[in-house]
Amino acid sequence: MKRTALFMLVASVFLSGVAWADSTIKIPVAAAFTGQLASFGEGIKNAAILRGEEINADGGINGKKVQIVLEDELCDPKEAATVATKLANDPEVSIVIGHLCSSASLAALPIYRDAKLPAISPASTNVNIGKMSPFYFRNVYKDDFQGLFLARYAKLARGFDTVAVFYEVNDYSMGLMTAFMKEAKKLGIKVLGTEAYTSDTTDFKPQLTKFKMMKPDAIFIPGYAPQGTLIMSQARALGMKNVAFFGADGLDDDLMLKNPDAEGLFVTTPFLPDKAGPQAAGFIAAYKKKYGKEPNWFAANAYDGVGLAAQAIATVGEDRVKIRDYLASLNSKKKAYKGVAGNTYFDANGDCLKDAFVKEIRNGRWVSAEKQLQ
């Protein structure tokens, strides 16, 4: 009996791989749709599905329908590697949109490289990713740019002279912190102290108490929203009323709006609905209509990612290497892909340079900050 069960098992694994033989073009989207960072994945999922429907409504790519396939990897590097293998070995897949977290990207990247499968990450901002594979692209800026931008904004637009940094022990947060501190030193911002927390920390009071005594102008939180909102609440509960908080795109989450203590927080973001060009108006309206809320930057980048993939397939067909070469050829402002989140063109590493914007919470809503820095 066990032998039969085993056979069935192997057979079902095998069958699941070949079930979809159709005249559609598969575009897999690999990100975290469940787990702690699911709210980031949600924007990616919504926008990718929206773009897929729009492409199909316009007649598909070269007459073929697009099928968006969601692959959940929970932002776990191990899961990401398994998903990547599955995709790399699927002959119907010629490009991947993913992954979300940088550690997932780093685990998936060697597999795509070996399989010569191009991928576009809408959200992995880790500095190292680009150099490691000619097949990995991203339409989001890197952490070193974001950290530098934040330091300049903090000094020039807000006039902060003393800052404390409260970072999470992960690649994203520490990359941002390093870039921020480097630029802060140049600009003469005094970093009074740095403290760490981990993703399962809920008690931030010991570290915040230390910051309280340092009396900084502002606290920089280069982390994610689930912890960010707790940090701000606990800081206010400790009586830190006058200190300002700011963060990067990891805090750009509607979760922050539920917290009255987050009033005044400002963050960098690659995409602002009201600062986006006219080409974004249709996307924002369609997204609002379908999902009942404004798209965030994850959504905008995923929307552009699917669009870019569709454009590549329409131009050079479903050959993996040709698609890669096509993406790599988009290497100047003139050849850039004009998306809803600005122009996307790649440097030699597959990284891209994009504008950053600043938005803040006022009266419990995200609005674009009055002062922007270009």
Binding site: M1, K2, S12, V13, T82, D90, L106, N126, V169
Partner: protein
């Protein structure tokens, strides 16, 4: 259930058949999903090695080791760092990783192995958490949460391994070596001493078994197998990250041996062979929101097996665990 009974009597034949099937596997016609199937089975074989290693401690000596993943992580990082900084060959890395695992096993085992069951379990747990904490925070050595990317692939006779089936054969080769070592130990004087300790520590001691020495040996062997599996893992994945060595892994491996049959070599391997591909089947079958909670099934396996079939699928052959169990129950011990 007939098959299961036959399997219990003669697991060797079954595994021999399975082994030949495995050797042939990359050449079977499976269309586009060959590589995916091979990758999943490579994972399964890797966990067979891991389970064989862990089995030595709870299965052979009866001590619950919750810190096994710590050695796995130590092995992976030893391998990754040696490969990146010294570009060392795999055949040098594997024994060095095993040695490093054994050293840590002895360092942890020597002071802790005199503890009774529950305390031992919790100390090993603390150890594995500390290992992850050190890996995460000592950036100068491990790059911490940035992970260790760009580990060069292993080379055999100057030929770098890149294809999935090459890694599959490599891990199969490792499995054969580990299996040979474990079977030899199992049938040796050392093995008999371990089983004596498991059945009754005090009686074993009275018969002249040096408790600490044999327990530390068990721990060191187990740790070095775990570290070797980690070394392979790093070379295979080419990227390692502290999150890969969390406590969950220890539980997963424990679940494999409990399911297959604690103490039984054949059972341990069967457990890995069934439960690891199961997670891939669940990915295909379950809706997304349920998939992230799939560990629920592993928890349930632990509870149900302990309640209804504590000896596992293939019971440990020598001691006839169930009979001993029932006898104890009757006596009300």
């Amino acid at each position: 259930m007939m098959d299961l009974k036959k399997l219990q009597k003669n697991p060797r034949l079954f595994f021999l058949c399975l082994f030949f099937l495995a050797v042939l596997l990359p050449w079977l016609p499976m269309g586009g999903s060959t590589n995916y199937v091979i990758r999943v089975l490579t994972t399964a074989v890797l966990y067979m090695v891991l389970a064989l290693g862990l089995n030595i401690v709870p299965g052979f000596t009866g001590l619950l080791d919750l810190g096994y993943v710590g050695f796995y992580g130590i092995g992976a990082y030893t391998s990754g760092l040696l490969a990146i900084h010294y570009n060392m060959s795999l055949w040098l890395i594997l024994p060095l990783a095993a040695l490093n695992g054994a050293i840590w096993g002895i360092l942890l085992g020597a002071p802790t192995l005199r503890l009774t069951g529950d305390y031992f379990a919790i100390v090993t747990f603390g150890f594995s958490e500390l290992v992850v904490l050190v890996i995460r925070n000592e950036l100068w050595l491990t790059r911490g949460p940035m992970g260790l990317p760009g580990i060069p692939p292993p080379t055999i006779l100057g030929h770098p391994l890149t294809r999935d089936w090459e890694f599959f054969y490599l891990i199969l080769f490792l499995l054969v070596i580990v299996l040979a070592v474990v079977t030899r130990l199992h049938d040796s004087r050392v093995g008999r001493a371990w089983f004596a300790i498991r059945e009754d520590e005090i009686a074993a001691q009275c018969c002249g078994v040096n408790l600490i020495r044999y327990k530390v040996t068990a721990f060191a062997v187990s740790a070095s197998i775990g570290a070797m599996a980690g070394a392979f893992y790093a070379k295979w994945f080419k990227f390692i990250h502290p999150d890969m060595f969390k406590f969950w892994e220890s539980i997963l491996i424990l679940c494999l041996i409990v399911f297959g049959g604690m103490g039984s070599i054949a059972g341990t391997m069967l457990g890995a062979l069934i439960l690891i591909p199961l997670s891939e089947v669940l990915r295909a079958v379950l809706p997304q929101s349920m998939f992230s909670a799939r560990y629920l099934i592993y928890g349930l396996v632990l509870v149900l097996m302990m309640r209804w079939r504590p000896e596992g699928l293939i019971p440990f052959e020598r001691a006839q665990a169930r009979k001993a169990w029932q006898a104890k129950e009757r006596l009300g011990l």
